[in-house]
Structures are given as structure tokens and as C-alpha cells.
């Protein structure tokens, strides 16, 4: 198994987020306060000192504001010489007097500016960097960088090869947690580094023609279970995030969860051909002298010290190698192919539930299976569409940079709904003599294996109890690189009556969107087809349905996200159906049904294509 690769990033942010709002309470806003600038630089120095003390090199992401500060520039140069730190440039930390005078705005998130302003700011910031250092940076970043901006940066500054490009699952959940006032809305991306496509930052490139030219890294390494249903800013490799989540012992000031999280990321090497990655990037505002999130400064500091000390310990043991961002980009390019997916069989390490998810991302999709619901698919993002969805002022989506889902079982209900309707999920229903059981109610576990380019998730058997029949079912999911589809095998491995005939109904209930709220479904087209005929409707909330025997496939076309989704059977004697939803249940369902006697099986494929 290879070493855990670590990126440590620090930024001298002269006006740290939170600092002016929090420590400046009761004073008129003044982002040029001497005390604020001094404290900000002091925090950066402290962070650098801690990393170096532990023998770890960093990437120093200079902010625009810091480029006007001689001491910050001088420190960066000194640390580059002495410790091998990379001098990089972030598009975070724009606020400063110079910026506000020039751009006459308090906006500070680069992806939200108009394209015209984005270009002007990039030019300004990069040229200022050159003026101070005499070279252009090799890495950059923000909380999110949209594809149009990446393409522009790469064109103007080809030296850029790495960028912090998203925060995993920082979307409506983070917005809500911040009292609906923190507009980092970008769910739906990869959790570990990837090569973004030119069309959409979240969606990895499938080949050179789609390659944006950079390696993207996520902002922090986040808990793949806790963040799916909770605030992203509580559960990541960011010690003060863990404090914010109150995941520590208040008496002893201990936080085993932080180390468990790092170790689970190390464990992901098992599913990724030996490769494992971590990123720590703590902005200075989080180590405020005034304390934050009920934690005094001493605890904020201790948690950062402890986090670094743990990484240093791993390094000493030969289990970790830290790299700068540009070094990592080179390493990633050498060791990864475009089609190579990122896989994560993730275990709950926080709540004690024993739950398990399987996350998968490749250039065609991102998806998640929940073993606590019999392997039900609870998230599906059709990257195959490579949806071009510009964000920022002047576009349709000023703030919402999420990659749309077809399934998101928390935002748009999964198996459980209140009183009526259906939620988005993909699962199997089993029927026998008028009784019906959904595998969503069968809790199980999964094992992962690999056969060449196939990534296989096989679930432990679940038992279905009918009044006079008991059967065991094993579900297997095969993700084949480059196929843009998932093969799903449902097999009866035990039956108490070999003559009994049960019906399998492999179904998917879906919609589209980026938030909890429904979208207009009237452009969706549903169809089912066999060799002789095709039934098709345009969605109109009329609760219509149709089915055909010997179906070739069932299909939904979702024009708004340029996606075609199909469920395709292996066998001929399968009945396909679609179901339109209605206003109180604005979903659609596609399904395939097959009768199975004894120990039979049913194989289907979930296939994703780009809609023309």
C-alpha cells in the first residue's frame, strides 16, 4: 500500500473570514484595522511554524491582500527557500482596501463575479503576484472554481496545473446551517482529487479532449457519511471543523474523531490501487485569538498542533508523504488514468451506527449506495452529460454551482415519504402472493473487489420473509470503467420453496435538481420499448403509466440536465414500465419486472447517456 499523500495549505489572509464579523462586533466595519492585519499575519506565521516544526512542507497560497504586504511576501520567499514550501496564489482572500476601491463591491467569492470581472480579477491578482515574485504560480484555488474560469486561467496562465476547486457536499446543507447566509452552494463533486473537464468542474474529464489542464483537489477531506446528511463544515480534516461540530471531549480536549477520519482516508487506499489522499487547509479566521465555536484560542491552537503532530507521526512511520500542490499534480498525472474511478467503501466512524456507504465517481457519474438500505442508490449525478452550467452574476445560476442530481434521497426523499408520493431512490421490490418487500428495509454490508477494469460491490445476503416463504437475496453491483453504466445482479441464493415464484421489480424513482425543492418536470420524456412498439409520454403531472412485456429498455430523457437514463434488462421475458408522477409527487419511476422461480436471478443495467 502506498503512502497517504498530504497537501497542507496555508494562506496569509489579511482579513480572515469571520474575523471582522466576529471579533469586530460592536465596531464599525474597518477591514484595514491595524490590529486585524497584525493578528491575521500572526496566525499565518503560527500555522507555518507548526507545520515546519513537524518537518512538513506546505503550499503557501498568497491572497490578493497579502500581495500588498511586504512582510507576508518576504515570509513566503523565506519559507520557500528554507523549507521547500510552494508559493502559490489563491483567489480566496480578495477583500482588502485596494480590492474594494478598485472593484467597488463587497463580493469576495470568485465564482460569483461576472465573467468580465472574473477575468479582470484574475489578471490583476496574477500580475500582482508576478510583480512581487517574478514568476507565475503553478497552483491556485478557491472554495469553488467554475469551468469557464478554469479554462480562462489555464489559457492565460498555462503554468497553473493544480487548483483547489470544490468543497465536497458544501451546498444547501451548509447554507442552512449558516442561517441561510453562507452561499457556497456546490454539491455533487468528487471528494478526492480529479481532473476536471472543460465543461463542468465537478465532472471529471473522460479523455484528453475534455481535460481542463489542471488537477483539482477538494477543499478538505470530508467525512463521506456525516457530510451527506450534515453540515460539511463539521466533519473534515480541519481540526477546528471538528470543534465546530462539538466532536471533542470538553474536559480532556481530545478529539479521536479527527484521527479516525484521517485513518479512514488512509484506508481508502484499499479501494484505489494503493492510493490515498488527504488535504488540510485551515484559514486564519479559524484560529482567532478571541476563540471560536465555544472553543478558546488555546484549544483552537492545540487542535491544529495535534492535527499536524499526527500527520508528522505518520510521516515518521513511513506511512505519509506530504507534497506541495504542484508536486501532487505531477504525481497524480503520472499515477492516474482518465477512466480510473475513485471508490470509497465508507464506514460510519462517528455515530456508532455501523452504517456503510459505497461512493463511486468516474467521468460518467457520481453515485452512492447505502448498505443500511439494502444497497439502495441514494445519490446519482449524471456526469456523462458534462453539463455546461456557468455560474456567477449575469448567468442563470448566480450562486448555485451544484452538479444536478437524478437521485438525492435526502433532498428529495428516499424510501420514506410522508403519507403520499414517492422519493428518489433506486432499489428492488420483491412481491409474492400479494405481499411486497423493498430491499430498502434490509440492512446489510458490502465487500469490494476488483477484476481488471471492473469494480465490484457485493452485498451480504438479506432475508425476505413472506407469510409462507423465505428467500435470501444477494445484490451485486459492477462498475466497469468507461462504460457509463452499472450492472446490477439480484440473485436468490436460498429459498424455502423451490417451486415458489416471486416477482422482482428493479426500479428507479428520480427527478432532477440541486436543492430540496422541486423543479419543472414538463420537459421530461418517459418511454418503454420492445421489438414491436414504443409507449412514450411527455411529463405533465397526470399520474399516467404504461408497461410492455419483453421490454428492451425503459427510458427517461431529462432535457434540463441533458441526460438520458435507461434501465436495460439482460433477459427477454421482462416487463418494463414507466410511471409519471403528479404534483404532490413530482418524480418519475422507471422499472423492470421479472418472475423468478426458485434460485433465479435478474440482471439489469443502469445506463447514463448525454441527451442531444
Amino acid at each position: 500500500m502506498d503512502k497517504l499523500i498530504l497537501n497542507i495549505i496555508h494562506r496569509p489572509e489579511m482579513v480572515p473570514e469571520y474575523a471582522e464579523k466576529v471579533t469586530g462586533h460592536g465596531k464599525e466595519e474597518d477591514i484595514s484595522r491595524e490590529s486585524l492585519l497584525t493578528e491575521s499575519l500572526d496566525i499565518f506565521k503560527t500555522q507555518q511554524e507548526i507545520a515546519h516544526k513537524h518537518g512538513l512542507k506546505t503550499t503557501i497560497q498568497m491572497t490578493y491582500a497579502s500581495l500588498f504586504n511586504d512582510e507576508a511576501v518576504s515570509l513566503a520567499k523565506e519559507h520557500h527557500e528554507k523549507y521547500g514550501d510552494e508559493i502559490s496564489l489563491t483567489l480566496l482572500g480578495l477583500p482588502c482596501e485596494e480590492f474594494r476601491k478598485k472593484y467597488k463591491t463587497k463580493d469576495f467569492c470568485i465564482w460569483m463575479f461576472s465573467m468580465e470581472d472574473k477575468k479582470a480579477i484574475v489578471k490583476d491578482v496574477f500580475e500582482k503576484f508576478y510583480e512581487r515574485f517574478g514568476f507565475y504560480p503553478e497552483s491556485t484555488g478557491s472554495y469553488y472554481i467554475d469551468a469557464e474560469l478554469t479554462n480562462y486561467i489555464k489559457e492565460e496562465y498555462p503554468s497553473i496545473k493544480c487548483a483547489v476547486a470544490t468543497c465536497w457536499e458544501e451546498g444547501p446543507k451548509a447554507y442552512r446551517t449558516c442561517n441561510n447566509s453562507w452561499y457556497t452552494i456546490f454539491d455533487g463533486g468528487p471528494w478526492n482529487p480529479w481532473i476536471p473537464s472543460k465543461q463542468n468542474t465537478h465532472a471529471p474529464a473522460k479523455d484528453e479532449s475534455e481535460d481542463s489542464g489542471i488537477v483539482a483537489i477538494p477543499h478538505l477531506s470530508r467525512d463521506l457519511m456525516a457530510c451527506f446528511d450534515g453540515n460539511g463544515s463539521n466533519f473534515g480534516t480541519h481540526p477546528q471543523n471538528v470543534l465546530r461540530g462539538m466532536i471533542y471531549d470538553t474536559e480532556k480536549w481530545e478529539y479521536p474523531y479527527l484521527y479516525n477520519l484521517i485513518d479512514q482516508y488512509r484506508h481508502l487506499a484499499k479501494y484505489n490501487r494503493g492510493y490515498a489522499y488527504n488535504m488540510m487547509f485551515v484559514g486564519p479566521g479559524w484560529m482567532n485569538k478571541m476563540g471560536r465555536w465555544e472553543a478558546p484560542y488555546e484549544l483552537l491552537l492545540k487542535s491544529y498542533e495535534d492535527g499536524m503532530a499526527y500527520y508528522a507521526k505518520l510521516k515518521e512511520e513511513g506511512a505519509l508523504e506530504e507534497m506541495t500542490m504542484s508536486e501532487f499534480a505531477d504525481h497524480y498525472r503520472k499515477t492516474h488514468t482518465y477512466e480510473q474511478p475513485e471508490c470509497a467503501l465508507w464506514k460510519d466512524i462517528l455515530y456508532g451506527s455501523d452504517k456503510q456507504y459505497f461512493w463511486y465517481v468516474d467521468p460518467y457519474m457520481r453515485t452512492c449506495l447505502d448498505m443500511n438500505q439494502g444497497g439502495a442508490m441514494i445519490d446519482l449525478r449524471p456526469y456523462v452529460a458534462k453539463l455546461e452550467r456557468p455560474v456567477g452574476i449575469g448567468t442563470k445560476y448566480v450562486q448555485d454551482a451544484s452538479y444536478p442530481f437524478l437521485i438525492q434521497a435526502n433532498y428529495r426523499a428516499g424510501y420514506f415519504t410522508h403519507y403520499a408520493g414517492e422519493g428518489t431512490v433506486k432499489s428492488l421490490k420483491v412481491s409474492y402472493k400479494g405481499e411486497e418487500v423493498d430491499l430498502c428495509l434490509c440492512r446489510t454490508k458490502a465487500k469490494y473487489s476488483e477484476e481488471g477494469t471492473k469494480h465490484i460491490v457485493k452485498l451480504d445476503p438479506v432475508t425476505i420473509e413472506f407469510s409462507d416463504l423465505e428467500i435470501d437475496i444477494v445484490s451485486t453491483f459492477v462498475f466497469e470503467e468507461g462504460s457509463s453504466q452499472i450492472k446490477v445482479i439480484r440473485e436468490i441464493t436460498r429459498t424455502t420453496n423451490p417451486e415458489a415464484v416471486v416477482e422482482f421489480n428493479e426500479y428507479m424513482t428520480a427527478c432532477y435538481g440541486t436543492t430540496e425543492y422541486p423543479e419543472d418536470m414538463t420537459n421530461v420524456i418517459l418511454s418503454v420499448e420492445n421489438d414491436k412498439e414504443k409507449q412514450e409520454i411527455k411529463y405533465n403531472y397526470k399520474c399516467r403509466e404504461a408497461e410492455l412485456e419483453n421490454a428492451k429498455d425503459v427510458t427517461a430523457i431529462v432535457p434540463e440536465i441533458e441526460t438520458v437514463v435507461k434501465i436495460i434488462p439482460k433477459d427477454e421475458n421482462v416487463t418494463g414500465y414507466y410511471r409519471e408522477g403528479y404534483a404532490f409527487s413530482p418524480m418519475f419511476t422507471l422499472g423492470l419486472k421479472k418472475e423468478i422461480k426458485g434460485k433465479g436471478e435478474m440482471t439489469t443495467w443502469l445506463n447514463l447517456q448525454k441527451a442531444n
Binding site: 446551517t177 462539538m246 466532536i247 471531549d249 470538553t250 479521536p256 479516525n260 465555544e294 460510519d348 466512524i349
Partner: protein, 70 residues
Amino acid sequence: MAQSTKGKLNYRCPSCFMRDLDIDMFYDKEKKEYYCLRCCYRGSEEDVLQKNEMARFRYGNISKRIKEFD
């Protein structure tokens, strides 16, 4: 009655925290209590700290060092 101020450690509302909302509370020095602008929680520092401990109930593994991830 004078205006409220931020507390010494930016205590968040424990009631809102339990519904995944981070909202700093303000301190009423006359009543010697923190209060939430959004919900109806108010309480002394001692009460806030006690409720914050309660909020940790969901973290079943908060003290556990995990070594096995399969």
C-alpha cells in the same frame, strides 16, 4: 435596557445546534443570560454548556479511537 453584546466565546444556540443551525447567541447582561435571535432558547452560561453536552448524544463514537475500517 442597554443593547446586548456577543458573549466571550461566541456561544451558539444549543437548541438550534441540535437542528443543524449555527447561530451565535447574544448576551443580556441585565438578565445574565444568553439568548437566541431565531428560536426561543435563553439560558445562563452554565445551561448553555450543559445543553452542549446533551447535543453530543448523537456522536456514539465521540471517544472511540477506531482502528478497523472494513
